[in-house]
């Protein structure tokens, strides 16, 4: 199961890298979304995918899955959610002000606006 997940995460990273190297700003932001999906799935996988009950003490099971990676992922998800929404609004503002979403045209000579 871990091997299958590794392949999936690898494909996610590959797609994210490809998208982030493209010209359009929106594609880049989609790439960052896929990158964070990959990273979160990687924490889950690296914590181990052994069978066990959900980490609720009410389940009275013999073994539970590792609760720590789940807490880490939850933290990482909200952080990347905050950053992504800021990034999207920034892209919107930049489109309004600069009139382009082409990364090649976002250069400009330094200091001269």
């Amino acid at each position: 199961m871990e091997i299958l997940m590794s392949f999936l995460i690898g494909i996610l990273f590959m797609t994210a890298t490809y998208l982030m190297l493209s010209k359009s700003l929106l594609r880049i932001i989609i790439g960052t979304g896929l990158l964070s999906h990959g990273a979160h799935l990687l924490i889950l996988t690296m914590g181990g995918l052994k069978r066990g009950a959900a980490p609720l003490l009410g389940e009275h099971a013999k073994s539970y899955v590792d609760p720590l990676p789940q807490a880490l992922i939850l933290t990482a998800i909200v952080i990347s959610f905050g950053v992504t929404s800021f990034f999207l609004v920034l892209a919107y503002r930049a489109y309004q002000e600069l009139g382009t979403d082409n990364m090649d045209r976002l250069r400009g000579k330094e200091g001269h606006e």
Partner: protein
């Protein structure tokens, strides 16, 4: 009082929260943030003396035992960095009062400012690798907002690039933590160190060490990963630039120091890699610093040089080189903040950052000129001033451990640093006077106070080397002997 070491995090946090409610009253915002900045200096000074007298201070948050809860650890290095951060934050804050402008201040400038300090102080104090990630994000989120606040075209353009780079490096940080967790099964830094020492020399640990170097190198701008820095740091106004230049990259440097001395002290390959990269960083920074005729660019490339010098000292891994690195780290934070603030005044007076379009400032503004001169000499490491001792120790231990090339390049770099800052001094202050637009509007005396105080601190730091040496050497002691850190946290 064992809760003392969380105060440098809590004070700016609560200040930031309270300031949200006073968005419209700029006066109240200034009083509250000014008071809390001074309070933070006092508290971190008390913390530093306590660490010096009683050894490493640890605090288990919510009384959970060490490897299971989050532990905050304040050793001498953290305490010194927290103190330096508080001083720089206060200087930048008082500079902001006079320069940042009402339209920025009304939009939560001081709140975000305080949240940035929360992130930096937290990153210096934490003893948990995932908690370090969270504090990194607190710091970065605040820096995104500070970078774009005001919304000019150049800020919007550069923030996009800055955020993209940092989103990628944060994802890499999460990935490295995931790999490390799968190998050692713990997140507490002292406990990770114990487990890695038990596991011995596995190939996978070297891979993780290099991954951490890439992550923190992206934050701290080392050689192949510094490409984002010159553009991004060019965009924001002077006090924000000073905060970024003095604090943000140094958090990356601190994290490299912490992980490489605590987790991977015996891995020879990674230290060789770090050494090569740090030398290349110095070379790249030097090329940038002498290539430009733009005063902001010159100082920005000097950040990269300093990062290289500090990491070169770390890569040698002897007690003396560590002492040198810590000396240089603290010196560099103070002097970079001072230089950026002065550069801000010059650029404002001249109405441009181009060196070829200014000149003759020394007649009208001698105070500004000589403060800049002293700060420039301190940056280059002229003997009685602050940059000297650190570089001396680094170079000497470099020669002792037979890294002749690296030490030679560190020495040569001082020359080029001196050349680049003297170019600013001669270009901006000497020569015939130019007519500057709207220079009457710039309150030079009020603005100069903060960088002048920072420069005075740097001078005293250089003159009082003898007095400070035992403190710095105590910080280096923990770095070369990680058992002290581990025993303090795990209390075996």
């Amino acid at each position: 009082m064992s809760n003392l070491l969380i105060m440098p995090i809590l004070i700016p946090l609560f200040t930031g929260i309270i300031l949200i409610f006073f968005a419209n009253s700029i006066k109240v915002q200034r009083y509250i943030s000014g008071f809390s900045a001074l309070l933070a200096i006092a508290v971190s000074a008390v913390l530093a003396t306590q660490v010096y007298n009683d050894g490493i201070q640890t605090m288990n948050v919510s009384n959970w035992e060490a490897p299971f809860g989050i532990t905050l650890v304040s050793d001498m290095l953290s305490a010194l960095l927290v103190l330096t951060t508080s001083v720089i934050a206060a200087a930048c804050l008082f500079y902001s009062f006079r320069s940042i402008g009402e339209d920025r201040e009304k939009f939560y400038y001081y709140s975000i400012f305080n949240f940035l300090i929360v992130g930096v102080n937290g990153a210096f104090t934490t003893g948990d690798i995932f908690n370090l990630f969270v504090f990194f994000e607190v710091m970065l989120m605040a820096s995104y907002v500070l970078l774009v606040l005001g919304g000019t075209k150049i800020q919007l353009r550069e923030s996009i690039k800055y955020i993209l780079v940092n989103v990628i490096s944060s994802a890499l940080f999460v990935i490295s933590v995931a790999f490390l967790y799968s190998v050692v099964g713990t997140l507490n830094m002292a406990h990770i160190s114990v487990r890695i020492a038990e596991a011995g020399n596995h190939g996978i640990l070297t891979v993780i060490a290099v991954l951490f170097l890439i992550v923190f190198g992206l934050k701290g701008a080392i050689f192949p990963l510094y490409f984002w820095l010159p553009g991004s740091y060019y965009a924001p106004p002077a006090p924000v630039m000073a905060l970024f230049g003095a604090l943000l990259t140094k958090v990356g440097v601190y994290s490299i120091i912490r992980t490489y001395t605590l987790f991977f002290p015996h891995d020879i390959f990674t230290h060789d890699l770090l050494q090569v990269l740090s030398i290349l960083t110095i070379v790249a920074g030097v090329i940038g610093a002498i290539a430009f005729n733009d005063i902001k660019k010159i100082i920005i490339y000097n950040i990269i040089i300093a990062v290289g010098v500090i990491l070169f000292g770390v890569s040698i891994m002897t007690k003396e080189s560590m002492t040198g690195s810590v000396f240089y780290l603290i010196h560099d934070m103070v002097i970079k903040a001072a230089l950026f603030l002065i550069i801000g005044i010059i650029a404002k007076l001249a109405g441009t950052a181009d060196l070829r379009k200014m000149g003759g400032l020394i007649n009208k503004y001698p105070g500004l000129g000589w403060t800049f001169f002293i700060a420039a000499l301190a940056l280059a490491g002229i003997p009685p001033l602050s940059g000297f001792v650190g570089k001396l120790l680094i170079v000497r231990s470099g020669f002792e451990s037979a890294s002749f090339w690296g030490s030679g390049i560190v020495l040569m770099s001082s020359l080029f640093v001196l050349f680049s800052v003297m170019k600013i001094f001669m270009g901006a202050f000497w020569g015939s006077e130019r007519a500057f637009k709207d220079e009457e509007k710039v309150p030079v005396k009020g603005l100069l106070a903060a960088p002048a105080i920072l420069t005075a601190i740097a001078v005293l730091y250089g003159l009082g080397t003898e007095a400070i040496y035992p403190v710095i050497s105590l910080a280096a002691e923990t770095l070369t002997n990680p058992d002290i850190y581990i025993n303090a946290v795990l209390k075996e």
